[in-house]
Symmetry: C2
């Protein structure tokens, strides 16, 4: 077979499928059913922004041995035909009579014995991207075959990135790093926040992003109120601290890190908080090792913030990333996921800077046997000031 | 209560909830459970790009009377607090012990009697954005309360747009129209397709898009192979027809239309196909009326293409849009959805131009009592040529 694969050579996908199949065998699964953009991209190289249309479900079946079967809307046949897959079955979606369910049923029956188990990710940080009623119909038809949870099976494989994947994430981080370096070109006192968001996206594209799936941020003299809001027209003012955060995408892989800037001279509060966040990140960068758990990373970041004399903000203080803006694990006190070499992670300490005010700081790393290796260009330790 | 709502005044959301509650009563539903970005935005005004993170579920409960209850991760509390909602319940997600399910259970129990029915969209063009196992736990806990399908209930309400919504979609269409007009500024023979996609996104942002959720396209002398692929580095050549398609977003609302351009002098095939697609659109623009069904629109477009001497491409020939890139109904032979005044729709005829080659053409309209009103600036009838 000619190498027709997208994004990576076919061998990359064959290796992924082999790792999934090893995990499937360990979990007693005869097939995996995958439905989300990230899982379909991971197994096939099928990369498209057409997922923005919620009209159609897409199905990928990973059997115990051999290559996956794609059961997809015919509008995707040409693109899927350029991946490494040979077995591509299509229907004209959306079809109110049968939106791919009979085709999917047949594909699963070919791979799974009458008493066999089919794995589907069903737990934390997953969802099923197909109509629920169709899923229930499918499950009933498949009986006595069982559909069982496969979250562990998929997450333990996907969370360790290959060198090829790490190179892609490093590319995305470099693009965002260059765009952050250009922020002073389009921000000064009086620039409305929505204009800043727009120009930041333009700069990310100009620096090489294929597209920009995420931009957020905030501004205020003593931090910002939240970190997920779209921008309003309020201008940034002298003395504000401005935070910009982005998930820029290159070759299907995300970065996810933020940067802070003072507009003019920074307030003491903002300067102090930035230094504390930077140092807490530095301490954790030095100490993080494979074998620690996600909750250990949370504790290290949290302890380091306390040591710097600031109060940690609520919520997680880091997470996985790669094929989506955020992936498991989560740096919370509750997540006991073991950290392993090859995981790509964010260190994302946040601290409270006032009533309903926080500041956050974020870097992207890959965990190596010897410790953390930065993928994002390290932020300056002193809060940069935009002279205005 | 002060008017704190985002995007629209609070009355817009109150009107939407009243329409949903009327539909709920007709379907015997004591509550609606909504989980997708579009449904949450529709009912609350909660607009964020943070949905790009699949880590956390978000829940919105619409009771029989009164305002909705939001059951959401605490990271969204500040933003949801600026909407018109007062009842906002939060937890620190992701929580592997209980990711909001107990809170959601309590909220549903407050709204729904012991034998009551809870509606959830489960059919064509829907999905449930939460972990499946959590849903199954919730359903079991709620018994003998039942969770039943509410696709009709939600879709019949959402598909008729208010004047405020139509104005937003018109804004998005205007932005894309201005960006399409500037395509000759950054395209000539020899420009790589990926550079074109990048510059098109930059231009959409420069013309006022808040963000660009979708860009696709293709190029070739006699049409393109598919319409959902990301761009490669292949340069467009003299004699190619280039198609660009976009879902640009302004104030949370999408446009979705495309434009074709010849690079230099168009081939006769491309010129003829473009004229046929344009005329089929024109015929349908003139004839479409409320009361017709989605399948009638398909037939009209299909008949008009045959009359022009070209063969319709497979797949749907138009669809709804607004809060997402595509919404129901679908212009296929199978969709019997009744078209109503206030629906925003694409007319999207495609035709076959060669072996594995097609061309497509798309306009956005709002259906009025008297017929179609264009929201996208009408494409020129003759395929425009980019002098190069």
């Amino acid at each position: 077979m000619a190498d027709r694969s997208l994004v990576f050579p076919a061998q990359e996908y064959r290796d992924r499928i082999a790792r999934l199949q090893t995990a499937m065998a360990a979990h007693g699964l005869e097939a995996l059913l995958l439905t989300t953009p990230a899982d379909v991209f991971y197994t096939t190289g099928f990369l498209t922004r057409f997922w923005a249309s919620p009209a159609r479900p897409w199905f990928l079946v990973v059997p115990q041995t051999g290559a996956p079967l794609a059961v997809i809307p015919s509008i995707g046949a040409a693109l899927m035909g350029r991946t490494w897959l040979d077995d591509i079955r299509t229907w004209d979606a959306p079809d109110p009579r049968d939106d791919g369910i009979s085709l999917l049923f047949d594909a699963l029956c070919e791979c799974v014995s009458a008493q066999g188990r089919i794995g589907l990710p069903m737990r934390l940080e997953t969802h099923l991207r197909m109509p629920l009623e169709d899923y229930e119909t499918l499950r009933a038809k498949l009986a006595p075959r069982q559909i069982v949870d496969a979250t562990e099976c998929v997450q333990r494989v996907r969370e360790v990135k290959s060198d090829a994947e790490i190179a892609k994430i490093r590319d995305s981080c470099s693009i965002a790093g260059r765009a952050f370096a250009r922020v002073p070109e389009f921000v000064s006192a009086g620039t409305p926040l929505d204009a800043i968001f727009r120009d930041f996206q333009i700069t990310l594209l100009a620096e090489g992003a294929d597209w920009v799936s995420y931009v957020a941020g905030g501004a205020g003299a003593y931090g910002y109120g939240d970190v997920i809001s779209p921008a309003g027209a309020t201008p940034v003012q002298r003395g504000d601290v401005l935070m910009l955060d982005t998930g820029a995408v290159k070759g299907g892989y995300f970065c996810d890190f933020d940067r802070n800037f003072a507009i003019g001279k920074a307030t003491d509060t903002a300067r102090y908080a930035h230094a504390a966040l930077w140092q807490a990140t530095e301490d954790t960068l030095c100490a993080l090792r494979p074998g620690m758990r996600a909750c250990d990373a949370h504790r290290m970041l949290s302890d380091a913030l306390h040591k710097q004399g600031v109060a940690p903000a609520g919520g997680r203080l880091g997470h996985g990333l790669g094929l989506t803006l955020t992936e498991w694990p989560s740096f919370t006190p509750l997540d006991e996921t073991r950290l392993r070499a090859g995981m790509v992670l964010t260190l994302e300490p946040g601290c409270i800077t006032g009533a309903d005010r926080i500041m956050v700081h974020e870097e992207n790393i890959v965990l190596r046997e010897h410790g953390a290796e930065l993928l994002s260009p390290r932020a300056p330790s002193d809060l940069p000031e935009i002279v205005t």
